[in-house]
C-alpha cells in the first residue's frame, strides 16, 4: 500500500499549502458550504493544511480507523467550535479529498497502465479513510451537541441545587426566613422604621421560586404575612399601604420566578428527550 501511495502522498504533502488554497477558493463559493463563505482565510486554510500534512500518517497507518478517529475527531471539534454545521463540515472534507485528486490529475501523476492501477489502489485507500472520517465526524458532532446542551444546563441545575438534598434547601430557607423575621422585628419594633430592609426578602423569594416552583409562592405569602402582622403589632400609627404593596409585590415576583423556573425545567426535560441522532426511537 505504502509503495503505490507514495507518489500521491508526496505530492499532497509537498503542495499542502497550494492544495489548501485551491480548496478554500472552492468552499468559499460552493453553495453546499455557505458557512465557509464568510470564514476568515486564516482560520480555514490552516485546518486544510493540517489535514494535508497529516494525510501520510492516516493513509499509511496500520490501524487506519484508530488514526482516522484521532485526526478527524479533532477536525470535528474545530469545525464545531467555529460553528460549521455537520453536513457542511463533511462536505468541506469531501472537497478536501477531491482537491487532492484534482491536483494529482493536474500534475498528471497517473498516466501509464501501471500508474492507472496505482491510481485505483490509492483511490480505494483514500475512500476508505474518508468513509471512516464521515463516520467519526458525524458521531463526534452528536457527542459535541449533547455536551453543549449539558454544559448549558449545568449552570441552571447548579442554581436550582438539583443535585443537593431537599434537606439542605429546607435548612437554607429556614435560616433565611429566621433572618427575615429578625430584620422585620428589628426595623419595626426597635427602629420603628419601614426602610428598604424588605429588599433582602427577595433572596428567599427568588430561591424558593427556583427550587420549588409554584409551591415556592407560599414562602412569599408567609413573608408578606410576617411583614403585615409585624406592622400591625409594632407600627400602629403608620399607614399600612406601603407594606401592603410590598407584600403584594413579594407574591407577584415569586409567581414570575416560579413560572420562569417551570419554563426552564420544561426546556431541560425537552432537551433531555430531544432527538439526538444516536438516541433510540421513541416507543
Amino acid at each position: 500500500m505504502q509503495a503505490v501511495a507514495t507518489k500521491l502522498i508526496d505530492v499532497t504533502e509537498t503542495n499542502a499549502e497550494k492544495i489548501a488554497r485551491q480548496w478554500f477558493a472552492d468552499v468559499r463559493k460552493n453553495p453546499k458550504t455557505p458557512s465557509y463563505h464568510t470564514l476568515a482565510e486564516d482560520r480555514a486554510i490552516p485546518q486544510a493544511v493540517d489535514f494535508y500534512t497529516k494525510f501520510r500518517a492516516v493513509f499509511a497507518a496500520k490501524s487506519p480507523f484508530e488514526e482516522a478517529r484521532r485526526v478527524y475527531a479533532k477536525y470535528a471539534d474545530e469545525s464545531y467550535r467555529i460553528g460549521i454545521p455537520l453536513h457542511e463540515a463533511i462536505y468541506a472534507l469531501t472537497l478536501m479529498r477531491r482537491h487532492i485528486w484534482l491536483y494529482a490529475e493536474f500534475q498528471a501523476l497517473f498516466i501509464s497502465a501501471v500508474e492507472q492501477q496505482q491510481a485505483v489502489e490509492s483511490l480505494n485507500r483514500t475512500i476508505l479513510l474518508f468513509d471512516y472520517a464521515t463516520y467519526v465526524i458525524s458521531d463526534r458532532y452528536q457527542e459535541l451537541m449533547k455536551g453543549e446542551v449539558d454544559k448549558q444546563l449545568m449552570a441552571l441545575r447548579a442554581l436550582g441545587m438539583e443535585e443537593s438534598f431537599t434537606g439542605s434547601k429546607v435548612g437554607i430557607m429556614t435560616c433565611l426566613l429566621v433572618a427575615c423575621g429578625f430584620l422585620t422585628y428589628y426595623y419595626h419594633a426597635v427602629m420603628a422604621s419601614g426602610v428598604i430592609f424588605t429588599h433582602l426578602f427577595y433572596i428567599p423569594i427568588v430561591l424558593a421560586g427556583i427550587w420549588w416552583k409554584k409551591k415556592g409562592i407560599y414562602i412569599s405569602v408567609l413573608l408578606g404575612v410576617i411583614l403585615i402582622v409585624s406592622h400591625l403589632l409594632f407600627m400602629k400609627g403608620v399607614p399600612l399601604t406601603d407594606d401592603l404593596i410590598r407584600a403584594i409585590m413579594f407574591v407577584v415576583v415569586s409567581s414570575v420566578v416560579a413560572l420562569l423556573a417551570e419554563g426552564f425545567s420544561k426546556i431541560e426535560v425537552l432537551y433531555r428527550a430531544s432527538p439526538q441522532a444516536g438516541s433510540p426511537v421513541e416507543t
Binding site: 453546499k32 453536513h87 492507472q116 480505494n124 463516520y135 420544561k266 430531544s274 432527538p275 439526538q276 441522532a277
Partner: protein, 176 residues
Amino acid sequence: MKGYATKLIEVTEKHADRIASQWLGDVRVNPKTPSYHTFSDEKALSHAVAFYRNFRSLFITDKPFDAAQKFFTKYADERYSEGIPLHEAVYALILMRRHIWLFAEFQTLFVSTVEHQQAAESLTRTLLLFDYATYVIAERYEALMKRETEERFRRDGKPGPSRQTVAAGGHGKQVR
C-alpha cells in the same frame, strides 16, 4: 458516462438481491452499525435492494445532485423514523457502496487496461454520488432532529408526534 458505467450498473441491478444479502451479512456484525444487529432482516434488505435497484437512475442522471437529494432524503426519513443514528445510517450506506465494488471485483468485471480505466471512472462517479448522499442525509437528519424538537416544544413537553410522523411530514421537501 453511460458507456463505461453500463457494466457496473447491469451487474448491480441484476444481482441486487445477492449484493443486498452480502451487505446485510456485513451490517449485522459490523461494530460500526450496532443498530442493524437487531434489525429485522426483511426491513434491512428492502433498504439495500431499493438502493441497488435505483442505482442506474442515480448513476446516469444529468443532474446527480437533484436525483441524490430526492432518493436520499427519503432514505434519511426512513432511517430516522426507524431510529437509526446518523453515523450508522451513513456507514450502512457506505457499506452498500463497498458491496457493489466487492461484488464487481469478485465477478472480475475490470481486468484489462481499458477496463481499469473504466473502473477508475466508475469509481469516481460512484464516489460523487455518495458524496452527495452523505451531504443530503446529514442535512436531512439535522432538519428532522430540529423539527422533532420544535414539535415537542410546541406541544409543551407532552407526547408529540412519533418520528415516523415527523419524517413523513416532509418527504422530499426542504425543511430549512
